[in-house]
């Protein structure tokens, strides 16, 4: 029988199935962070051990200070980090803690360390776990009760999602990135457009994306309602993984590569839903509202809420009110107060290079923060001199963590301030109470830094060439 990649991954992980409870799936990698404290508390309450500590990894990222790590001023934050240290130590879980040179955002360091591999099932108590699907893994975010369940049993109960393929073909225009593909499809289908589905990304555009780009694309799947984003592994995947610290080597590597090459959707397999996108239709895209579906090409104007249907019209009006914008305003006329380049969506080395290429020899009109996806990304960027470009442009170069993606570590946008951001959610208050967030790609954030307003990065790229 022909099977989709989703089917193959699912079937390979099914420990048990029954009508009453669904599938019991084996978990190959479980990633925990400071936010997993509820789950550890549940485990302790019942005095249960961790079933497979060797497959569990801890990371300090959500509360990780990006400055002044030597002495953490906020006792609540210090406590969160200590709790993670204590819990991982107690259960024999390897931790990439604050002082580890490999520390970084969980969805960046998993792949970077070779912990994320094709064919694995990856769970983490963070909705952007879909990122790891870029390697052909079955990766999805879970809540605290489920984290406790995975810790105790190394398995998870799940109902099989429906399958959906988003096929993107053709060449992306200059200045158009994986971030734009994601915002484009989410704007088209809505934030619940893929709810209940696992999305497999296919087509020539996806094949041509770097691993970094595929990670960005899979990362944002959740913003379109899909818990899973998957890309079939290929030569590029394998080349990325070779030699990574935790990746297999020797004979194991060869065997793994053979298995990984099987991880494709069969030619005749059918999807529950198919969506086709022409890469030529995608422009550099920015959000104007308070959900990722409220996104438009940078060349657009703010829409009139009256042109939307019932619920969406109301949502648009409320969003514009919160964002302090008016219908008819050109997106390029919107002034920003600051920029943020970071998060598991867009803070890998390729993202930093792309942003630095725009900022090179220019200065930023507004303040901004650059927080690399991991300390290793940070070190690499420094080797390449990217840090100097950011600093000379006037941006702040800080340590790695979730930072202004979620504001838990105290890095926040002040009330009413407008931020051009490479993150994944423009929800009200996500970057801080009253903060106004516009999502966009790293090149677009760099362009906004240079002009102090939302800007079509292509214009700046032309000037340079």
């Amino acid at each position: 029988m022909s099977r989709t990649l989703l089917d193959k991954l699912w079937d390979a992980h099914e420990v048990a199935f029954d009508e009453e409870n669904g599938s019991l799936l084996w978990v190959d990698r479980h990633l925990v962070h400071e936010g997993s404290h509820h789950a550890f508390a549940k485990l302790a309450e019942r005095d249960l051990p961790v079933f497979a500590p060797e497959l569990t990894f801890g990371v300090a990222d959500h509360y990780a200070p990006t400055r002044g790590r030597a002495s953490i001023a906020d006792p609540a934050i210090a406590q969160m980090l200590e709790r993670l240290e204590r819990n991982t130590e107690r259960y024999g879980i390897r931790l990439f803690g604050l002082r580890d040179p490999r520390q970084g955002i969980v969805h960046v360091i998993g792949p970077e360390q070779g912990l994320t591999l094709p064919g694995l099932l990856v769970n983490c108590g963070d909705s952007h776990t879909s990122t790891h699907g870029a390697f052909g893994a079955l990766a999805f975010g879970i809540g605290a009760t489920q984290v406790a369940h995975v810790l105790a049993t190394q398995t998870i109960w799940q109902a099989r999602p429906k399958s959906m393929r988003i096929r993107i073909d053709g060449m992306l225009g200059p200045g158009v990135t994986a971030k734009d593909i994601a915002l484009h499809w989410i704007a088209k289908l809505g934030t619940d457009g893929a709810t209940g589905h696992a999305v497999e990304y296919a087509g020539s555009t996806v094949r041509d994306l770097s691993m970094e780009g595929r990670m960005t694309l899979c990362n944002l799947s959740i913003e379109g309602g899909a818990r899973f984003g998957i890309v079939a592994p290929d030569d590029r995947t394998i080349a990325y993984l070779k030699g990574r610290p935790f990746a297999p080597d020797g004979d194991d590597w060869d065997r793994a590569c053979v298995a990984w090459r099987e991880l494709v959707t069969d030619e005749a397999a059918r999807f529950d839903r198919e969506v086709r996108i022409d890469a030529a239709d995608i422009a550099p895209t920015v959000t104007w509202g308070t959900t990722p579906e409220q996104a438009l090409p940078i060349t657009s104007t703010i829409p009139d809420p009256g042109t939307f249907d019932g619920g969406r019209a109301r949502a648009a009006r409320e969003a514009l009110d919160y964002m302090g914008l008016t219908p008819g305003q050109r997106l390029e006329d919107i002034a920003v107060d600051q920029v943020f380049l970071g998060s598991c969506t867009n803070a890998r080395i390729e993202d930093l290079r792309a942003a630095a290429a725009i900022l090179k020899g220019r200065s930023a009109r507004v303040p901004g923060v650059v927080s690399p996806g991991s300390m290793l990304v940070r070190a690499e960027a420094e080797r390449e001199g990217l840090d100097r470009i950011f600093v000379e442009a006037g941006l702040e170069w800080v340590a790695s963590g979730c930072s202004m993606c979620v504001g838990m570590n105290g890095d926040v946008v002040a009330p009413g301030k407008r931020c051009a951001s490479t993150t994944n959610r423009n929800f009200r208050g996500r970057q801080g109470k009253g903060a106004r967030t516009h999502l966009m790609s790293p090149v677009m954030v760099a362009a906004a830094a240079v002009t102090g307003r939302l800007t079509d990065a292509r214009a700046l790229m032309m000037e340079q060439s």
Binding site: V15, A16, E20, N21, G22, L24, W26, D28, G35, H38, A41, R46, L48, F51, A52, E54, Y63, Q79, L115, L120, D126, G141, I142, G143, A144, T145, Q146, A148, H149, A152, T153, Q154, W157, A159, T191, D192, T195, G196, G225, R227, P245, F246, P248, D249, D252, A256, T291, G311, R314, A315, V406, G407, M408, R425, F427, R428, G429, R430, K433, G434
Partner: protein, 197 residues
């Protein structure tokens, strides 16, 4: 967790689509332990300085009726803790984000999905209504009108029995260990080397 089959309560409307988890509980409150209680943080930023917020206008609300795609965003279970600790037993909406709905069921909160949520929102307006929810029949009464809601059999049973998955799964430890051994035999490379430098 205690199971339940029927709930009698008072409903109020939150007529907003895409109520995301950052609205339900802003991230800055999430370091509290469960014992400390999350009820005070529910919709903290939306409620501040807004006496007209449904939960502040009325006391004793246990059923919240909201717009589509409720609970989108983060996997933070604290969003469910905040609702429960504030006395909410049921959220009614046209659709729910999946992780939120799963988290809800794991904590005894019913995500009642119904295509009629919009009509109920409208009927409620800014008022409250008595509600009776029945998990057996998958129906609920708002004042005297009856509606059906969708809930998978798996989730219904979990809510009714107050089951904890961990117990259910621990009874299968042998099958899990057998799976692990077979997987390790077939694909040893999945187990990371113990100490890369």
């Amino acid at each position: 967790m205690a199971g339940w089959t029927t709930h009698d309560g008072l409903a109020a409307a939150l007529p907003q689509a895409n109520v995301d988890t950052d609205q339900i509980i802003p991230a800055r409150f999430m370091s509290a332990s469960r014992k400390e209680g999350y009820g005070d943080y529910l919709f903290a930023d939306l409620r501040e300085g807004n006496d007209a917020f449904p939960l502040d206008r009325h006391a004793g609300i246990s059923v919240l009726v909201a717009g589509p795609n409720f609970g989108c965003g983060s996997s933070r279970e604290a969003a469910v803790y905040a609702l429960i600790d504030a006395g909410i037993h049921v959220v009614v909406a046209e659709s729910f984000a999946e992780i939120f709905a799963g988290n809800a069921v794991n904590n005894g909160l019913l995500p009642a999905r119904t295509a009629e949520a919009g009509a109920i929102l409208e009927a409620l307006g800014t008022e409250t209504a008595k509600v009776r929810v029945d998990l057996e029949t998958r129906r609920f009464l708002v004042d005297d009108r009856e509606y059906g809601f969708e809930l998978s059999e798996i989730w219904r049973r979990k809510l009714v029995n107050g089951w904890d998955d961990i117990d259910l799964t621990l009874s299968r430890t042998e099958a899990i260990a057998a799976y692990r051994d077979a997987r390790r035999g077939q694909a040893p490379w999945i187990w990371p080397k113990t100490a890369p430098s």
